[in-house]
Amino acid sequence: MNNLAKTFENRRNMKSKYKGSRNKTVITSAKIDVPKGLYEKCPTCKETVQMKNTIENMFICKSCGEHFRVRSIDRLKITVDSGTFVEKGHGYITLNPLFQDGYEEKISDYKEKTKLDEAYIYGYAEINGAPTVIGIMDSYFLMGSMGSVVGEKVTKSFEYAIYKRLPIIIFTASGGARMQEGIFSLMQMAKTSQAVLKHSQKGLLYISVITNPTTGGVTASFASLGDIILAEPNALIGFAGPRVIEQTINQKLPEGFQRSEFMEEKGFIDKVVNRQDLKDVLSKLLFLHRRVQ
């Protein structure tokens, strides 16, 4: 007991000591981001919607049910039990391995804009009381592209889950591998796939939740390798982007191509789940996979 108290004391000291030393991404600083206007036009149904209502409705358009893109922090708020999220793996710094012009400025811009270190956060959380590791990609940070840091953090989140013997849930939203980091980004695909393998070999559950949009190197690595793959309605899922395909085959793509419902029909997704039901479905799945002593 004494020991435990000491550990907590130490941890508290550590926390206060390093309080200002990193970008805060923890949920404590998260107020749900209200976009600039009070009213916004839904891009799908062109209806003017009141932002406040939309936010209360989990970022779903009230008139047409379009699922808007969600910041990682808001995603946490609507998915995990409040107050249970503990962020892990901070302090990574993105470098510029190929000395690309303007890449560093771009990163620092996005850091300021999104208040995130990188396009991925992960940590421990509970969903309706079920403990899990949760990882979330943020498409607002350079299109959620996977560079060295994102690849490393994804790998680390799997390793953390192995260490804690916990299931892992990853929300993917990404344009693919990050072009600016060249071949290093490409290698992250292999690295993250291996992480899935190691986690899987321990007999642990990995749920991949695909959100709009998930394309390129992320689809071609850990996003497609979940034991269970869920997707939000009408999310773009694919390896090549629609524009590239149109250019290659020289014809217009059919309506709904590469969307969740389409991919579900083709057999690449287990279930398309509405955002309102997502938390329940996840907690149910976690419950069904709990370890029986």
Binding site: L98, I183, S224, L225
Partner: protein, 313 residues
């Protein structure tokens, strides 16, 4: 003046030799060509290497296999949908060592290229590759992959059949193999389509091959919105064998003759065979577990970033 112009000039001079009856004159011309090659065809720019990697006459995977293997039996089909001609695979022997070879095959003519889909595999190609790899593991055969593709095919049907899933599954299963695996990038190594055959113990690359996250054209279009800048961004992309060796992404470079592999095919094949055999004997000494662990460890290390520990702050 890029490498293709230089090559044209060499070819012109060579055609002149044929017309000459005089031995002394032709010897002098030959010497001249040799000198020209020495001065003009060393120190290639990255864009030159891109052009060479895509060269019309560059030897394709089949030619390598024909030379390297004493016998080769092609095995077809993924058992699920159909046989993808962009990827060929089979069993062969190299100096008596039985190996499974999987390769991306470009065509020599337009007709063949249409048949081979310009070496851009569909998902079934990757699933065929995976099937052959699993088979190789069962019979404890080493696996050699020859990579030469502009990328996985970005088409409608490819998407319908799960291009992303097929590549992802290959990445995962290749990491888990317990037999020696060697990848040789013989031409273009384009993006995920190349990596799906490239998660191996040893990655070898021909001197003038390229390996990158996407084509220089794609890169120029996406980041600079101007496709004509492709030749300039090739420099910045660091896609040549020497850059990648420096990064530690590839393990070894196979030297090519001056002016590219197609100037002296046999020499290229010999060099490649020698390197493959050397690497194979090195990997043979390891057990299955060791092979898997070293491979995993190697790929775990890739990445270029910094992390501040709390203690360092």
């Amino acid at each position: 003046m890029n490498i293709l112009d230089k090559e044209r000039k060499v070819r012109e001079l060579e055609s002149k030799i044929k017309g000459l009856g005089n031995k002394e004159m032709s010897d002098r011309l030959k010497q001249e060509i040799e000198n020209y090659k020495q001065t003009a065809m060393t120190n290639l720019t990255p864009w030159d290497r891109v052009l060479l990697a895509r060269h019309q006459n560059r030897p394709t995977a089949k030619e390598y296999i024909e030379y390297i293997c004493e016998d080769f039996i092609e095995l077809k089909g993924d058992r699920l949908f159909r046989d993808d001609k962009a990827i060929i695979g089979g069993i062969g022997t190299i100096n008596g060592n039985v190996v499974t070879i999987i390769a991306q095959q470009k065509g020599k003519s337009l007709d063949e290229n249409l048949k081979r889909n310009f070496a851009m595999p569909h998902p079934e190609g990757y699933r065929k590759a995976l099937r052959l790899m699993k088979q190789a593991e069962k019979f404890r055969r080493p696996i050699i992959t020859l990579i030469d593709t502009p990328g996985a095919y970005p088409g409608l049907e490819a998407e319908e059949r799960g291009q992303g899933e097929a590549i992802a599954r290959n990445l995962l299963e290749m990491s888990n193999l317990t037999v020696p695996t060697i990848a040789v990038v013989i031409g273009e190594g384009g993006s995920g389509g190349a990596l799906a055959l490239g998660v191996t113990n040893t990655v070898v690359m021909l001197e003038n091959a390229i390996y990158s996250i996407l084509s220089p054209e794609g890169y120029a279009t996406i980041l600079l919105k101007d496709v004509t800048l492709a030749s300039e961004v090739a420099e910045a992309m660091k896609l040549t064998s020497y850059d990648l060796e420096e990064f530690g992404i590839i393990d070894r470079i196979v030297k090519e003759p001056l002016g590219g592999a197609h100037f002296d095919r046999i020499l290229t094949f010999q060099n490649t065979k020698k390197v493959i055999l050397e690497e194979l004997y090195k990997l043979r000494k390891l057990t299955g577990e060791e092979l898997r662990d070293t491979r995993m460890k190697k790929y775990r290390e890739f990445g270029f970033f910094q992390r501040f520990n709390y203690d360092n702050l």
